[in-house]
């Protein structure tokens, strides 16, 4: 992380007082015991107590806070529910932590237009809860949906098991109100569909809190499908399971969810929740189909045929809602299940071209031997998003470091086979230093120029995403082309 600025640390009293003048009462937290609650997010290996926490309640307060911090040169880290798995909300010792938890109201629901306008602190699941009695829901469903906030989802472009069919956050958000670091409030997008000019909303979603603080979100609502059915399919090899997935898609079927687990993950899950998973298979697939009854019935039959053609040794079709949920119970409990067989686990999040899965799993097994650490895999099979869970014991000296090195090797492998460092958890602090494996300096500079357009002083959530943040003045320089300086007559500063 950036070296804390001693001058800012020494001005702590002044900063707290300034924030108290903007947010009265209990909205400013400065006592050490209370600050500790904010020291980490979902990536608990990283901890840092913030300089001070401020919990504004209005957009005007957010604007004043950011304007004051911008003028005073004080860094700000925005935070939703703090469930980031990549350290996106990791505080700074010399930075203000700006929590959006008091922005917790659903502002408007328009069923005719199928949109909801909500504040950023509303949880993902609360949006669905607010509209489900009318037969609607909000589609992206990250597994932390009971706790994670929609503002955090916007920052991280969160996914979920249904995103192959229904998209990520970016495909389901229509507009935001956002406060920029200089305090200016802008509206990007709205209830209309296409942007009038550049798609700035598109770049804000997934920007990991580095471009602005979102204070209102307009999301698209979908009618709840008439029904959903699932198949539980077991295979003797990962190759066969992978071929089954490819054949399902080649048959024109986009399932609502398509999840794969490898043998260690199956065994951990079964031991934990007794979902009835077969223990003699190398790969387990859960394929969920949703839509009208007629469609589900037809597609279940098609998928069962494809599975059988690929030599599925287990093939069960849910015949009730209870059974469907039972199929999912093991997958949904996979992380805690692994947590039960190992003191600690480290969850990775690369995406690979699906056709490379068998090779990636083989090489991961070799790495596992090399590092002496076990790994269990759960896999969003439809979209190639892989979640290896590395098992380690933080109490054993050196194991955390080995787990992190193992994880980095896995992500490098993902990039090597044509994939990416992160499919849905974000870069944050965790994968920041690996960005160079995927992007050149020039690629990163083009990304950082976007950052400079929004936050030229680089005060908003620094230390995340970019391995090095160059000063924006440096970024603005044109390189000299064949000895010719552009616009030689213009004055230079």
């Amino acid at each position: 992380m950036p070296v804390p600025d001693g001058a800012v640390l020494s001005r702590r009293g002044e900063i707290v007082a300034a924030l108290r003048a903007i947010v009265p009462g209990e909205g400013v937290i400065s006592d050490p015991a209370s600050l500790r609650a904010y020291e980490s997010d979902g990536l608990t290996a990283y901890r840092q107590v913030p300089l001070v926490v401020v919990l504004p309640e209005t957009t005007a307060q957010v604007s004043e806070i950011l304007r004051w911090c911008n003028q005073a040169g004080v860094k700000v880290v925005p935070r939703g529910s703090g469930t980031s798995l990549s350290g996106g909300a990791l505080p700074l010792e010399d930075g203000v932590l700006l929590g959006l938890s008091k922005f917790n109201r659903v502002l408007d629901i328009d069923y005719d237009s199928r949109v909801a306008v909500v504040q950023p602190g509303v949880t993902n699941l609360a949006i669905t809860r607010a509209v489900e009695d009318r037969g609607f829901y909000y589609a992206p469903d990250p597994s932390s949906q009971i706790a994670c906030s929609i503002g955090g989802n916007v920052a991280e472009n969160s996914g979920g098991v249904h995103c192959l069919k229904y998209g990520l956050t970016t495909n389901n958000v229509l507009g935001v109100e956002m406060v920029m670091m200089d305090g200016e409030v802008v509206r990007l997008g709205g209830q209309h569909l296409d942007p009038a000019g550049l798609d700035l909303l598109g770049i804000v979603v997934g920007s990991e809190g580095l471009l602005g603080v979102v204070t209102e979100v307009t999301v698209r609502l979908l009618p709840k499908p008439q029904t959903a059915r699932a198949l539980l399919l077991g295979f003797e090899t990962v190759e066969r399971a992978g071929q089954c997935v490819a054949d399902v898609i080649a048959a024109g079927i986009i399932p609502a969810g398509m999840e794969m687990m490898d043998r260690p993950a199956i065994h951990a899950a079964e031991a934990f929740v007794h979902a009835g998973y077969p223990l003699d298979v190398e790969a387990l697939l859960i394929v969920e189909l949703d839509g009208p009854h007629a469609e589900c019935d037809y597609l279940v039959e098609q998928v069962a045929k494809i599975a059988s053609a690929n030599g599925a040794v287990t093939s069960r079709v849910s015949t009730s809602e209870e059974e469907r949920l039972a199929f999912w119970a093991g997958r949904k409990a996979a992380f805690p299940a692994v947590g039960r067989i190992s003191p600690d686990y480290y969850c990775m999040d690369g995406t690979i071209p699906r056709r490379r899965l068998p090779e990636v799993l083989r090489r991961m097994a070799t790495l596992s031997d090399h590092y002496g650490l076990k790994v269990a895999n759960v896999f969003h099979a439809g979209d190639g998003n892989l979640h290896p869970l590395i098992l380690y014991d933080a109490n054993q000296p050196g194991e955390l470091e080995r787990a992190e090195d193992f994880g980095s090797d896995i992500l490098r492998l993902c990039v090597e086979v044509g994939g990416v460092l992160t499919g849905e958890h974000g870069v944050g602090v965790e994968k920041r230093d690996l960005m160079g494996t995927m992007f050149t300096e020039i690629d990163l500079a083009h990304q950082q120029r976007v950052k400079c357009a929004f936050d030229p002083q680089l005060l908003l959530n620094p230390g995340k995403v970019f391995p090095t943040l160059h000063r924006c003045a440096e970024m603005g320089r044109m390189h000299i082309h064949h000895g010719a300086v552009p616009f030689p007559d213009l004055p230079r500063f």
């Binding site: 005719d112 237009s113 991280e156 995103c163 970016t170 495909n171 920029m180 200016e184 802008v186 709205g190 209309h192 569909l193 009038a196 000019g197 550049l198 798609d199 909303l201 598109g202 770049i203 979603v205 997934g206 920007s207 009618p223 054949d247 898609i249 048959a251 024109g252 986009i254 839509g291 009208p292 007629a294 469609e295 019935d297 037809y298 690979i352 071209p353 190639g384 992160t422 499919g423 849905e424 958890h425 994968k431 960005m435 992007f439 050149t440 020039i442 690629d443 500079a445 083009h446 990304q447 120029r449 976007v450 400079c452 357009a453 603005g476 044109m478 390189h479 082309h481 010719a484 552009p486």
Partner: protein, 390 residues
């Protein structure tokens, strides 16, 4: 003889060279692919034509991966034919603007992405930006860079493809693009309701989209552009048993609202092609593309009627194509769109009007300033056709 003033770089290195030199000299460039949208924007700009050609290879296409990578100047028609052979498609339903300008089809993949061209399915399947996964290109700085990736699920770094879609070449020239592709539906049918007025039509389209019938597209042709009887179209796609069931759901929902017909596959395709090509909106005048919240579509039509507008609604009312006499000068359209929380872009008009009206809807001051700073980052010498829309 080839026009000597046209730049025709051959390959990425020459493109870098061409843009770098133009930046050094402050020479403005008009980036062109198929040229089907060349008549959109302010006429008579002082710029040199940069013809993008030769980036026309399909680099990787593996159907079950749902990903296609191709050169940016690959003809859209070639990509669509390739996908159709594999029972797949670009789900945002791009179209060739050539038909709106009386030209031969020539749209390129890069061109439809840069112009954010999405068709009727955009309503439910998402726009270009929702299917645009990765790119290689050369920015106005004369530097080659990449953004996004070649897999369908990725949150690594900023989502530059979103920024490049609908950027009209004003940030960078794309050379290679990666798109998400999806299965083509086995069956398509359309339920048409007759005689609804615009307000009723928007309500019906909204209710249909809120139902479990999984409507893929919804359009409305008002009576005055459809031979005196309005038509409201609800498209259903998918596997045959499913489409059959969902057509019944729609008929049950609206059978008592208006006379209903079910168009089988071919008739359905013809209707949606007419919507896409704006066949019912032939004639002189200024053609506007107006984005508003879907329920406001009928309001746009009502408010523009006094100005002699003839309109067609797509995207369940969220997209209004309006043909207006040029006497309006654009003030009415812009005012109506703004009031209803949307925006209007001038697509086709005589030169005089294109000189006097900005092509794109003016942005709110804060957003305009932010947009300019983003452009300055990618194109600091302001050479990538900065006057096209002003």
């Amino acid at each position: 003889m080839a026009d000597q003033s046209i730049l025709r770089p051959n390959g990425t290195d020459e493109l870098i060279e061409a843009i770098g030199q133009a930046a050094a000299r402050g020479q403005r460039l008009e980036v062109r692919g198929g040229g089907t949208k060349a008549a959109i924007g302010r006429p008579g700009r002082d710029s040199t034509l940069l013809q993008i050609q030769g980036f026309d290879t399909v680099i990787d296409y593996d159907g079950p991966e749902l990903v296609l990578t191709a050169g940016a100047s690959t003809p859209l028609a070639k990509i669509e034919a390739l996908l159709a052979q594999n029972n797949q498609m670009l789900a945002f339903e791009p179209f060739d603007h050539a038909v709106l300008f009386g030209l031969a089809p020539a749209a390129t993949l890069g061109g439809v992405i840069a112009a954010g061209v999405s068709g009727s399915r955009r309503l439910t399947a998402g726009a270009v930006r929702d299917h645009f996964l990765g790119l290689r290109g050369v920015s106005g700085r004369g530097e080659a860079f990449m953004g996004g990736a070649k897999v369908v699920k990725n949150v690594t770094g900023y989502d530059l493809p979103k920024l490049l879609a609908n950027s009209w070449g004003q940030l960078a020239v794309m050379t290679e693009v990666t798109l998400k592709v999806l299965p083509r539906p086995q069956t398509v049918q359309t339920v048409v309701l007759s005689g609804l007025n615009e307000r009723q039509a928007c309500l019906v389209m909204g209710q249909a989209l809120g139902s479990q019938a999984d409507v893929a597209a919804a359009a409305h042709l008002p009576a005055e552009i459809n031979g005196g009887l309005s038509l409201t179209a609800l498209r259903l796609e998918g596997f045959e048993p499913s489409v059959k069931a969902r057509v019944q759901m729609v008929l049950e929902q609206f059978g008592t609202t208006a006379p209903c017909d079910v168009l089988p596959t071919e008739a359905s395709a013809l209707l949606w092609e007419q919507v896409q090509h704006l066949t019912p909106l032939q004639g002189e005048g200024a053609l506007w593309r107006i984005n508003v919240p879907p329920m406001s579509g009928s309001e746009v039509i009502e408010q523009l009627k006094p100005y002699g507008a003839r309109c067609l609604l797509d995207w369940a009312g969220g997209l209004v194509w309006a043909l207006l006499p040029t006497t309006d000068g654009g003030q009415a359209v812009r005012a109506v769109a703004s009031t209803l929380g949307g925006h209007a872009m001038l697509i086709r008009a005589p030169e005089a009007l294109r000189l006097s009206v900005p092509t794109q809807h003016p942005l709110a001051p804060g957003v305009a300033a932010l947009t300019q700073r983003v452009k300055d980052g990618f194109d600091p010498a302001a050479i990538l056709d900065p006057e096209r829309f002003v």
